[in-house]
């Protein structure tokens, strides 16, 4: 990958946490445009906390976050979205009593131009034809995999330059895990920059260009996706090895 230009997302030595204790200590990572980066690690590594700090749900006690050349450290979440970051939270958060279409429209809440919304909708439907088929279906009646698709689709409605995915395959059966990774692959093919926190490290590293391995709130390893996937040290880490 031609890596001369500035990374799209730069997280520099952030420390952050909930309350008095910092869960993250001095964590750094970066993601280039069109790059898929996986953030993996055993439980308690603070992976989701990294995404929450980037998105502004938490303010870091130390460190900086830059996106697209702009300093976004501690910026309010809705501003972070406006700057071009999309966020797909953990757990397939959809509005169960609204239709697929309504859910997507909710995703475009910050977009004032209705024509832009229509364009985004068309693009999302093109990317995920299954959502087009089910546009009038109530989100609560869809399968886990479809709900995740909808959640991702909704994040696309603001035309982000980059998407943060928080544990997209969590709690899904193997069949739906396949479905979700196909969706992520589709995004990758379209050239979307992605930072993905995943519990299923093997799958995440398979699809990612690069990966960061966190342990107990700190950077532990970093490397090409394929390298990390076969690195015995990484695998053993999960069982306290």
């Amino acid at each position: 990958m031609a890596v001369v230009e500035q990374p799209l997302l730069m997280v520099e030595s952030i420390s952050a946490g909930y309350g008095r204790v910092d869960v993250l200590q001095d964590v750094s990572l970066h993601v280039h445009a069109q790059e898929v980066v996986a953030i993996i690690g055993p439980n308690g590594a603070g992976k989701s906390t990294v995404l929450k700090t980037i998105m502004g749900f938490l303010k870091p006690s130390k460190g900086d976050v830059h996106f697209d050349g702009q300093r976004i450290t501690g910026m309010a979440t809705h501003h972070v979205v406006r700057v071009g970051l999309g966020y797909v939270p953990q757990g397939r958060v959809v509005f169960p009593h609204m239709t697929v279409l309504e859910n997507l429209e909710m995703g475009a809440f910050t977009v004032s131009d209705p024509r832009a919304v229509k364009v985004s909708l068309d693009e999302t439907f093109a990317l995920f034809p299954r959502l087009a088929e089910r546009r009038s279906q109530l989100a609560g009646t869809m399968s886990g995999g479809e709900q995740q698709m909808l959640s991702i689709g909704r994040s696309l409605m603001t035309k982000p330059k980059m998407i943060l995915l928080d544990e997209p395959s969590l709690g899904l059966s193997p069949r739906f895990v396949d479905m979700v990774f196909e969706q992520i692959l589709a995004l990758k093919i379209r050239g979307m920059a992605i930072a993905m926190v995943e519990q299923n490290a093997a799958r995440a590293l398979e699809i990612a260009h690069r990966g960061y391995v966190l342990e107990l709130g700190r950077n532990k390893y970093e490397g090409e996706g394929s390298e990390l996937a076969t690195d015995a040290r990484v695998r053993k880490m999960y069982l306290g090895g």
């Binding site: 790059e35 692959l185 093919i189 398979e206 699809i207 260009h209 996937a229 999960y238």
Partner: protein
């Protein structure tokens, strides 16, 4: 050594999702066992089934020879089981002392004496008049543990006692558990703090997708490929080809 707890074919589903699917294992009296597994493997659900918080769809939970599957929690507790929760459920509008007193049932020792001794072990006796709501995270965890000991259980289920706890507090919790084990209490622990669990527990039960995938000494489990795969994840077969073909995986545009 007899089995204090025998779980046989335990099964429960919520809607379309089978959270626990034919779980079976036995716990020897006086042992300290760890129950581990990736997120969503059904560990907490298993605890909830054993302690009566949820009723199973099928299977047996044999505690001291009696099948308590489906019993109300307070009756299972009366049979000698106590448990703690992932997020400590200490009674906020009561003092530390009152928290201990409310657990004291028809205990053999005078409850006040027992409570004092237990609180002193975890350095909470001096805080006995503090309200539950004012305790720190770690203190609440310790209180929940000693409070459960007021019930004089024979089997203690601990749900993530090390979660979110700083290293110093973790040492205190570890020390208490070692002591209790030495005193003959049977302990079953769920936690994600791998290195601690590996050291603390003689034996590990590993769950994935609602069932047991491994059962053995910690050192063996650490090398077990299937267990590693359960945590690390399995690669998707067709995805590998698709990824290789469809994208410029080294990024050349």
């Amino acid at each position: 050594m007899s089995s204090i707890l025998e779980v046989e074919g335990l099964k429960v589903s919520f809607g379309g999702l089978t959270a626990v699917n034919g779980l079976s294992f036995a716990i020897t009296e006086g042992s300290i066992t760890g129950l581990i597994g990736p997120n969503g493997s059904g560990k907490t659900t298993a605890f909830n089934l054993i302690s009566g918080v949820i009723k199973p769809d099928a299977g047996r939970v044999v505690l001291n020879g009696r099948n308590v599957a489906g019993w109300a929690p307070h009756r299972i507790t009366a049979q000698g089981l106590a448990r703690t929760y992932q997020i400590s459920r200490v009674f906020g509008q009561m003092t530390v002392w009152e928290n201990m007193m409310v657990a004291a049932g028809r205990a053999t020792h005078p409850p006040a004496e027992r409570a004092r001794l237990l609180l002193e072990r975890v350095n909470l006796y001096d805080h006995r008049d503090a309200m539950g709501a004012d305790l720190s995270y770690g203190q609440a965890k310790l209180l929940e543990i000693v409070r459960s000991l007021m019930l004089e259980p024979k089997l203690l289920l601990l749900d993530e006692p090390f979660a979110g706890v700083n290293p110093t507090m973790g040492q205190t919790v570890l020390a208490i558990l070692h002591e209790l084990h030495a005193e003959g209490l049977t302990i079953l622990v769920v936690d994600h703090a791998m290195s601690i669990i590996m050291n603390l527990c003689e034996r590990l039960l590993v769950m994935d997708m609602g069932a047991l995938i491994a059962d053995g000494p910690s050192t063996q489990i650490q090398q077990n490929e299937e267990v590693i795969e359960a945590y690390f994840g399995r690669r998707g077969a067709k995805l590998v080809e698709a990824a290789a073909g469809a994208t410029n995986s080294d990024g050349e545009a």
